[in-house]
Symmetry: C2
Subunit: 460 residues, 2 copies
C-alpha cells in the first residue's frame, strides 16, 4: 500500500508523540518505521524540517534509522532540507551517510556544501572514493553527467556468460541496477550491452561479446538532461549509458531518474508558458525572494510592451469619440485574439518539447492553423455579431464581426509562428509564453479593430 496524506499525518503525530516524551522509546519508533517506505518517511521528515521547531525530531528519526536507511530517506528530501540536516551533523556522521548514498545523490549533496566542509570531508575519504566523487560533482547541472550514477555493472570484454553472471552477483549489492549490463574493452570504451534476461537464457560458456548488442544507445556526458529523459522514454530503456568525450563509459542514467527529470522539465515548461523563470524548488518551499525574482522580470517588461496598446488607443481617439460604443467591444476582441493566439503558441511549444513537431513541420502547421483559426474566428464572430447589433446597430456589428475574424486569425498566426521563429534563432521556443503572445496580440488587436472601424465609419 502506498500511504495517503492522512495516514502520513497520523504517522507524523504518532512519532512526535513518542519523541516528545521525556524518554522516547527508540526501539518502538524503529519498529514502527521498519515497514514504512523510505519515500514516505522522507515525506514525514520533510514536514518536520519545514516546521522549524521540529528539526530536532527530524534528526532524531534519522538517527534511529540504520545509516543505510537514513541515507535513502535523505535522498528523498529536497535540497534545502538535505542541507539543513547535514548542517546539524558532524563530519563523521556526514561521511557515513555519504558512503551509503548512491553515487549520483552523493555528488548532489556534496555540491550543496560549502567549500570548507567539502575540503574537510574529502580529506577523510579514501583516494578512489575521493576521485570518483570529485569527478561526479564536477559535471554541470542539467546535463547527463549531473544526473548519472557510476554504480553500474561493467563486464570486461572476453568474459564468458557464467563469469559475467558471477560478476553480477558480486556487484548486486552496490549497483543501482543489475538488469542492464555494459561490456567495456580494456580502454573503458563501451562496446556492447545486454540485459540480465539475455544473460540468463544464454549458454553459460558462451562469450558475452557474442551475445551482446553492439549498437548501443548512449548519451554524451554533456547532453542536456531533457534530451536524456526523452531518449530513455523513446526507447523504453531501463538505463542509458553515458560516455565521455573519448567514448569511455562514465555512468548510467536510470529510468527512475529520467522520470524525475521529465517531471521537473514539464514543470519548468509549464511555468515558462506563463513567463515564470526556473524555480530552485517546489512552489511551496522555494524562497519568496526567488519566487518574486522569477515572476517580476517578464511582468515589468510586459508593462512596457502594453504601452503600445495604450498608444494605439490614444491614436484612434477621434474614432472612439465618434462612436463610443466601440470601446465596449475592445476587451472582448483583443481578449479573444489573445486567447486563440496563446492556444496556438502552447500547442506548438508542447509539440516541439515532446518531439511531435520540428522546424521542418512549419509549413504544414501553418496550413492547419489557418484553417482552424479561420473557423474559430468565424464562429466567434457569429457569436458576437448579435450583441453588436444590439449595442450599436448594424455598422458596429459588421465592424465587430470583421475585426473578430481578423484578430483571431492574425493572433493565431503570431502565436503559431513565434515558437518556430524563436527555435530558428536558437532561443527556447517556450519563451513564446501566453503573457508575451497575449501582449503582442493586444497591441495588434487595437490597431486592427480601430483601422477597420475608421474605414467602415468613414464610408458609412
Amino acid at each position: 500500500m502506498s500511504l495517503n496524506d492522512e495516514t502520513l499525518e497520523e504517522l507524523k503525530s504518532e512519532l512526535l508523540g513518542e519523541l516528545n516524551k521525556e524518554k522516547p522509546n527508540k526501539a518502538l519508533i524503529a519498529e514502527r518505521l521498519a515497514d514504512i517506505r523510505s519515500a514516505d518517511i522522507g515525506e514525514v521528515v520533510e514536514e518536520l524540517i519545514e516546521d522549524d521547531e521540529e528539526l530536532p525530531a527530524a534528526l532524531a528519526i534519522l538517527d534511529i534509522l540504520s545509516t543505510e536507511r537514513a541515507a535513502n530517506v535523505l535522498g528523498y528530501l529536497p535540497r534545502e532540507s538535505q542541507l539543513e540536516v547535514v548542517g546539524e551533523l558532524s563530519d563523521t556522521q556526514v561521511l557515513k551517510l555519504l558512503e551509503e548514498m548512491g553515487s549520483d545523490e552523493r555528488a548532489d549533496l556534496f555540491n550543496l556544501l560549502g567549500e570548507d566542509r567539502r575540503e574537510a570531508l574529502l580529506r577523510r575519504m579514501a583516494h578512489q572514493e575521493r576521485e570518483d566523487l570529485k569527478r561526479l560533482a564536477s559535471y554541470e547541472e542539467g546535463t547527463a553527467g549531473a544526473i548519472m550514477t557510476s554504480d553500474y555493472v561493467a563486464i570486461p570484454s572476453g568474459m564468458t556468460v557464467s563469469q559475467a553472471m558471477m560478476r553480477v552477483r558480486q556487484t548486486a549489492p552496490d549497483a543501482e541496477t543489475v538488469y542492464q549490463l555494459y561490456v567495456l574493452d580494456g580502454d573503458g570504451q563501451l562496446i556492447g550491452t545486454m540485459s540480465l534476461r539475455q544473460l540468463m537464457v544464454a549458454r553459460p560458456r558462451a562469450l558475452v561479446d557474442d551475445i551482446m548488442i553492439k549498437d548501443v544507445i548512449s548519451a554524451p556526458v554533456d547532453e542536456e538532461q531533457e534530451d536524456v529523459a526523452r531518449t530513455v522514454a523513446r526507447y523504453d530503456l531501463l538505463a542509458l549509458p553515458v560516455l565521455d568525450a573519448d567514448g569511455r563509459m562514465v555512468g548510467i542514467v536510470t529510468h527512475d531518474d529520467a522520470m524525475d527529470v521529465a517531471e521537473s522539465e514539464a514543470t519548468e515548461d509549464i511555468h515558462k508558458g506563463m513567463s515564470i523563470g526556473q524555480l530552485e524548488d517546489g512552489v511551496s518551499r522555494v524562497s519568496l525572494w526567488n519566487l518574486y525574482r522569477k515572476r517580476v522580470t517578464w511582468l515589468v517588461l510586459l508593462v512596457f510592451a502594453n504601452l503600445f496598446s495604450g498608444a494605439g488607443i490614444a491614436y484612434f481617439e477621434d474614432t472612439i469619440a465618434a462612436q463610443v460604443a466601440l470601446v465596449f467591444f475592445l476587451p472582448l476582441l483583443i481578449g479573444s485574439g489573445g486567447n486563440a493566439g496563446a492556444q496556438a503558441a502552447t500547442l506548438m511549444v508542447r509539440g516541439m518539447a515532446t518531439g511531435d513537431i520540428g522546424v521542418k513541420d512549419w509549413s504544414k502547421m501553418l496550413g492547419r492553423e489557418l484553417l482552424v483559426a479561420g473557423s474559430l474566428g468565424i464562429t466567434m464572430a457569429i457569436a458576437v455579431a448579435p450583441i453588436g447589433v444590439f449595442r450599436g446597430g448594424e455598422a458596429v456589428a459588421i465592424i465587430v464581426a470583421l475585426s473578430m475574424v481578423t484578430i483571431v486569425l492574425f493572433g493565431s498566426m503570431i502565436g503559431m509562428c513565434l515558437p518556430f521563429v524563436l527555435e530558428r534563432f536558437k532561443v527556447d521556443p517556450a519563451t513564446a509564453s501566453a503573457p508575451l503572445v497575449t501582449t503582442l496580440i493586444d497591441a495588434s488587436g487595437v490597431l486592427i479593430y480601430f483601422t477597420i472601424a475608421t474605414a467602415i465609419l468613414a464610408n458609412g
Copy 2:
C-alpha cells in the same frame, strides 16, 4: 546510437528508393533494417503512412520484417496509423500480429477495431487467449486496467528460490519484465513481491514466502492512470501490480508505460492551462475538426465573459470622457493583472498536479502569495508611475500606480484561490486556465481602475 531526424530522413529515402524499383530486393531491405531499432523504424513507417501515397511502402516494410518485429514496430505507431495498417491486412495477418504484441498493446489495438472485425478475430482465437483479450480490452480508458499488461511473472506461494528461478527462465521470453516477481496465493491474491536481484542472492532452498516483501505497493484496476504514474515515480518502481476489486492480481504497469502516461498527462495539463480540451492525438496528426472543437468551446464562452469588461467600461463613460488619458493605461493595467494572476494560477495548478501542494496548504499559499504579489504590484507601480506623470500629470500617475498595486494583488489572489476552490468542489483545478483567469481579472480590473479614478478625480 539513437537516430536523429536527418539520419531517419536518409533511411526513409533509401528504403523508398529500393521499394520503388520494379523488383525491390527484399533481402537487402531486411538487412538494412536488422540493426535499426523498432522505435526508429516506427518513425519512418509513420511518416510513410502520413503521406497517403506511401502507405503501400509502409505495408511492404512491415511485411519484410519478421512478425515479431512488425508487431513491435506497430506498437510504436499512433492509433490512427495502426488502424490504417490493420485496415489493409487480412484477418490471418492481423491475428499473427496480435499474437506477437504485448497484451496491453494488443488490447489497445483491438479496441480500435470495428465490432465486426473484432467478432471475426475473436472467433479464431483459442479460448484462453480470447478471454484474456476481452478482459483487458474491457477496462475503461485512462485507468490502470487500460494501461497494464498481463504478461508478468507470477510465482505461486510455497515455491523455493530455485523453483522460482526456473519459473523466471521459463516465462522470460513472454513476460514484459522478469525483474520484479509477484507471489500469489492459491486464490490469485497478491501476497508478496521480490526483485530478481533479491532472488539471485537468496539461498536456493529458501522459500519465496520467507524472502518476499509482504507490504506491496499496488493500484486498484480502476485507479486513474495519472495516479498510477505518480506512484511509479514516487517509489522508483520498475512495475506496479494492479489488483481487481477482490484483491486478485490482474496485471502490472511497467515503468516505461508509466513514463508515457506521465508525458501525455503533462501535455494534457499544459493544453488545459490554455483552455484546450484533451486532443485525441499529437497536434501534428489530430484531425482539424477535433482541434477546432477542443479550442472553440472556451473561446466562445470567454467571448461572453469578456462582455462584463465592456459593460464596466460603458458604465464609467463619464469618467473616461472627463479624463481621456485614462484609456491609455487600461490595456496595461488589466494586462498586468491578468499576467500576474495567470502566473499564480499556473503555479498552484502544477503544484497540485505534482503533489507538491494539497488543499491543506491553502492558507500557507495565501500568505506567501499576498507577500509576493504585493511586492510585484509595488514594483510594477513604480515602473508605470513616471509614464503616468508624463501622459496625464500627477493625479493620473497616482491613479495608475494605486490601480496597478490593487489590480495585481487582487488578480493574483483570484488566480491563486481559484484552483483551490475548484478542487474543493471536485472540479479539475486545471480548469483555472490562463484565459479564464485573465478574463475574470480583466472585468475586475476595469471596475477597480475606474472606481479609483472616479474617487480621486472627484476629490481633485
